[in-house]
């Protein structure tokens, strides 16, 4: 049953083929067996999980079950969940038990979904390999010597290893899509504002967006239906009528115009990734799609722009972690300033400190205009590139990541190399557009390759349709990592 999709689990529960308690036991057992080697979960709490599972079964018995009632999932440890340790992958919050539910968690709970645990992640979502977590790295189920990507590495690896049928993730510069690609699963970053950020610990507020991670496009739509929706507690949450993101799954892709940005196929892309992505595009052509050569001329600026804006916002967002009210406080200190310095020096890891320093610098008097204001202007140009491109095409496709999963420690010493892992994903966050990654093949080392699909604003249903049609004719998404049954 742990190999089933959300859709299948939903059907099984509805048919009475299994109960939520049985399902939850099965996943908890798998987690207990495999988490030691994979490091996917920071917190598992079987008691809490089973309380929810029993409630879901009771709800079903009472006849008020929804499509996902009783279906288990894992939450990235960036989401506050009432009564759960919520660490954000940091020593700073290693003792923080959230007293409330994030909007996303609340929506999943309201739908009757069952929380299996809180997944590992790069500290404060800053990283592309899950190696910056205070709780240790996550290993890629396809090859335990390689990283699962990040920052939602725990969620991605858990879904790939069948420790959870689906998981929530967050994506600030590629943190859903890149780990999805590196672990051979599907991940969707919705349009900015579609999913509430309330209760999701902020990294870079203008870029952060939560989204679903699962094994099929259809499952992404099922979970997005639960996650999305207006929340008055998030001022950037959009007021839009509810929609069924799976409503267009069956639509044929014949006539679909696929934009191929030349910048996505330039230097830096590894040949194996290029080959797999081009094969996927050929598959679409066979299905009747037309290919359009496009250009995103300012895309090369997206990494430097991102590494001004995201750290700027982060430096301010992370100021609340001062050891005064909650979180880590140094055991000894001489005065207030010393308490701040020691608590933050001990509580934050190297990558987080690096970004706080960068962010503080670019906001400082005398540098603000040259960095922050300049980056904001370029951000608008990058967004305009997409607006122009979408006049010529319906979706944009390319690689999600320039490489497949790299070895643990391979890029840790070189932050710029690490930052370039997100070269194809960052521009999407800067523009606020929806983007997704689906599996489209393997490299020579049998590591998965991800195909990125970028849609226009609010075109999630179309993107899911496009991905689903591909998954009807391919089986990359059904491949299972070795050693995982």
């Amino acid at each position: 049953m742990s190999n089933a999709t959300l859709k299948e689990l939903s059907a099984n529960l509805a048919a009475g083929a299994c109960s939520s308690v049985e399902l939850s036991h099965e996943f908890i057992n798998k987690i207990n067996n495999l988490n030691k080697s994979l490091g996917c979960f920071i917190t598992v709490d079987a008691e809490r999980t089973l309380v929810q599972a029993r409630a879901a079964d009771a709800r079903r018995a009472a006849g008020s079950a929804g499509p996902l009632t009783g279906v288990p999932l894992a939450h990235k440890d960036i989401f506050c969940a009432d009564g759960w340790l919520t660490t954000c992958g940091s020593r700073m919050l290693s003792n923080f038990v959230a007293p409330y539910d994030a909007h996303v968690v609340q929506r999943c709970n309201d739908a009757g979904m069952v929380t299996l645990g809180k997944t590992n992640m790069d500290e404060f979502a800053m990283g592309s390999s899950n190696e910056t977590s205070y709780f240790g790295p996550v290993r890629n189920p396809w090859n335990l010597e390689t990283v699962p990507g990040g920052s939602s590495g725990g969620s991605a690896a858990a879904v790939a290893a069948r420790l959870a049928p689906a998981a929530t993730g967050t994506d600030t510069g590629g943190s859903i899509r890149q780990p999805a690609a590196l672990t051979g699963i599907c991940g969707l970053k919705p349009t900015y504002g579609l999913v509430s950020r309330y209760g999701m610990i902020a990294f870079a507020s203008s870029l952060d967006q939560a989204g679903p991670m699962a094994r099929t496009a259809e499952d992404l739509g099922l979970l997005l239906n639960v996650m999305a929706g207006h929340d008055p507690r998030d001022s950037t949450s959009l007021e839009r009528p509810a929609e069924d993101y799976n409503r267009d799954l069956a639509r044929p892709v014949a006539g679909l115009r696929i934009g191929l940005p030349k910048e996505f196929f330039a230097t830096g892309l590894t040949p194996d990734v290029q080959r797999a992505v081009e094969a996927a595009i050929t598959e679409y052509k066979k299905l009747g799609a037309t290919l359009v050569d496009i250009s995103l001329p300012n895309m090369e600026l997206s990494v430097p722009v991102y590494y001004v804006l995201a750290p700027a916002e982060a430096s301010s967002n992370l100021s609340r972690f001062d050891g005064v009210r909650y979180g880590h406080r140094a055991a000894e200190y001489t005065d207030l300033m010393d308490m701040y310095k020691r608590s933050r020096a001990e509580g934050f890891g190297a990558e987080v400190k690096r970004r706080i320093l960068i962010g503080t610098y670019v906001l400082s008097h005398g540098y603000y205009d040259a960095y922050y204001i300049h980056a904001q202007k370029l951000r608008r140009l990058i967004a305009q590139d997409f607006t122009k491109a979408f006049k010529q095409c319906d979706v944009i496709m390319g690689p999600t990541s320039p490489t497949t999963a790299f070895r643990l420690g391979e890029k840790s010493a070189d932050p710029v190399q690490m930052y370039l892992s997100d070269i194809y994903t960052i521009a999407v966050n800067l523009a606020g557009l929806p983007g997704m990654s689906i599996p489209c093949g393997f490299d020579g080392s049998s590591l998965p390759v991800g195909l990125q699909i970028i849609g226009n604003y609010f075109d999630e249903a179309r993107m899911l349709n496009v991905a689903h049609q591909y998954q009807l004719v391919t089986d990359w998404h059904q491949r299972t990592p070795p050693g995982v049954k």
């Binding site: 950020r197 870079a204 507690r233 001022s235 100021s319 609340r320 005064v324």
Partner: protein, 478 residues
């Protein structure tokens, strides 16, 4: 005078919303520490601010009342610094684009009117409180005040004396209460001023270096602090020292200002637009709606009082100290002529105000209503009672003994204005006070007053004093 004083004020007016500017927690004063601080106020991980539209409406009311420009688009920015009572590590404020720009306020010092120009007014949140006592060496933090909505109102350096600064602060204090945006309670910190003070030699055009006196929460402290600071600055310059830009605190116990920090150790606040809040848009429809809800403003009321009741600008100023007071006067004086209007004004500014002060009440709690006061004034105007008798009647109304007419009847206080009756009394007094009559005729004016007193006594205070005077003079001259 050799020195010119230049003052600009920054005032923090706490907006009278029920809940905080970015959260649903209560703003009520005086609760147990940290009982009015929700997740947003204590800056839990993951929480987000949501703008209170009531605070925005109050800011717009202010902007319209001072004739300022309401920006159709303004921006909330983060002001970053670390302090234990600032839970997020930044304060949400408005920096480059405030909601209100410009505007003026008219002030009066003595007989002189003056216009003070406002630079801007912007919305921001208050911080919490650090409690340094009672924690045996540690500092306690109370976040009840964190997130309380403030309107920071900044003037141009237009004031030239401590008196002008106080007059401005008072006028502003009146206005914010008048338009119902702030309760003006200075003890509770709902209205507090920072004064930027500099001095320069008369005739100089460049401004001197300023020092900012922080957190003055009474008009008296404002006056004292500026006066001390001005003398200190003049002393420094005359002794050949330069003024260093600094922030200072006023100590009410010593009456002195002392340095808090200089410009050198000023923070770099790293302001940037808050990505959690959208730009604040104010539509013309919203502006019109707020405008239509604004009361007639103090300046217009003063002008109306002067025109309608012939009051002096000073009296009009007194009667517009609050909207309730102006309404009280208007109700009392309504439909009357200038004479009754003037009498109402005098009674309100005199006996009534004294009584309210004595008992610590405000006009809304007055035990003599506007209608009651008017009926009392009417009896004075038609000579039923004298001004002196009216004081007793006023006290009786205050004590709840009824209306003026009831009290006059019950106490038999009706003034004797019947000249026949009065002449009889005068004749009796003259007959039995031969000595005083003789003294008066010998040129002792004092004797006349004694005779008047005798007549008043004989009438048990009811005689119309003016008529007694007239009759006595006539009879004594005869």
């Amino acid at each position: 005078m050799k020195w010119e004083i230049v003052i600009g004020l920054e005032t923090h007016a706490q907006l009278s919303t029920v809940s905080k500017i970015f959260s649903g927690a209560s703003t009520a004063f005086g609760a147990e520490p940290n009982t009015q601080a929700c997740g947003v106020d204590i800056a839990l991980p993951g929480v987000l601010p949501v703008l209170n539209t009531g605070a925005v409406e109050r800011a717009i009311r202010f902007g319209l009342a001072v004739g300022g420009k309401i920006n159709t688009r303004s921006i909330f920015a983060r002001k970053n610094y670390f302090y234990p009572d600032l839970p997020k590590g930044y304060q949400i404020s408005q920096y480059e684009l405030p909601i209100v720009e410009g505007g003026t306020l008219t002030i009066r010092v003595g007989d002189t009117e003056k216009t003070v120009h406002l630079t801007r007014a912007h919305l921001e949140e208050d911080a919490g409180k650090s409690l340094h006592e009672d924690f045996s060496g540690s500092t306690g933090i109370d976040l009840n005040r964190a997130g309380t909505p403030l309107l920071e109102i900044v003037t141009e350096p237009d004031m030239r004396s401590a008196e002008e600064a106080v007059a401005y602060a008072r006028a502003l204090h009146t206005l914010v209460r008048w338009i119902d945006i702030c309760d003006g309670n200075m003890q509770e910190g709902s209205f507090r001023c920072d004064a930027n003070v500099s001095v320069r030699r008369m005739g100089e055009t460049e401004l001197g270096t300023r020092r900012e006196i922080k957190n003055l929460n009474s008009f008296r402290f404002l006056q004292q602090a500026i006066e001390y600071e001005v003398q200190w600055q003049i002393g420094e310059i005359e002794d050949g020292r330069k003024i260093q830009q600094a922030t200072v605190l006023f100590d009410p116990d010593t009456g002195e200002t002392r340095m808090m920090r200089t410009k050198e150790d000023a923070h770099d606040y790293r302001y940037f637009p808050d990505p959690d809040l959208l730009p604040l848009e104010v539509t013309s429809e919203r502006l019109d709606a707020v405008r239509s809800g604004l009361p007639v403003l103090p300046k217009e009321r003063r002008e109306q009082f002067v025109a309608q009741y012939d009051l002096t600008p000073y009296d009009a100023e007194q009667l517009t100290a609050s909207r309730e007071l102006a309404d009280f006067f208007d109700t009392a004086a309504s439909g009357s002529d200038a004479r009754i209007g003037k009498l109402c004004a005098n009674w309100i500014s005199g006996a009534l105000s004294a009584r309210l002060n004595e008992e610590g009440l405000d006009i809304g709690q007055s035990r003599v209503g506007a209608g009651q006061l008017r009926r009392l004034v009417d009896r004075i105007a038609d000579d039923t009672i004298s001004g002196k008798m009216a004081k007793d009647v006023f006290d009786a109304i205050w004590a709840g003994e009824g209306d003026a007419d009831q009290i006059i009847a019950a106490k038999g206080l009706r003034q004797i204005s019947d000249s026949g009756e009065l002449e009889k009394i005068v004749d009796q007094v003259l007959a039995s006070n031969a000595q005083q009559v003789a003294d008066f005729k010998a040129g002792k004016e004092k004797a006349f007053n004694s005779l008047v007193g005798q007549v008043m006594k004989a009438s048990r205070g009811k005689a119309n004093p003016q008529q007694v005077n007239d009759i006595l003079r006539r009879k004594l001259a005869g």
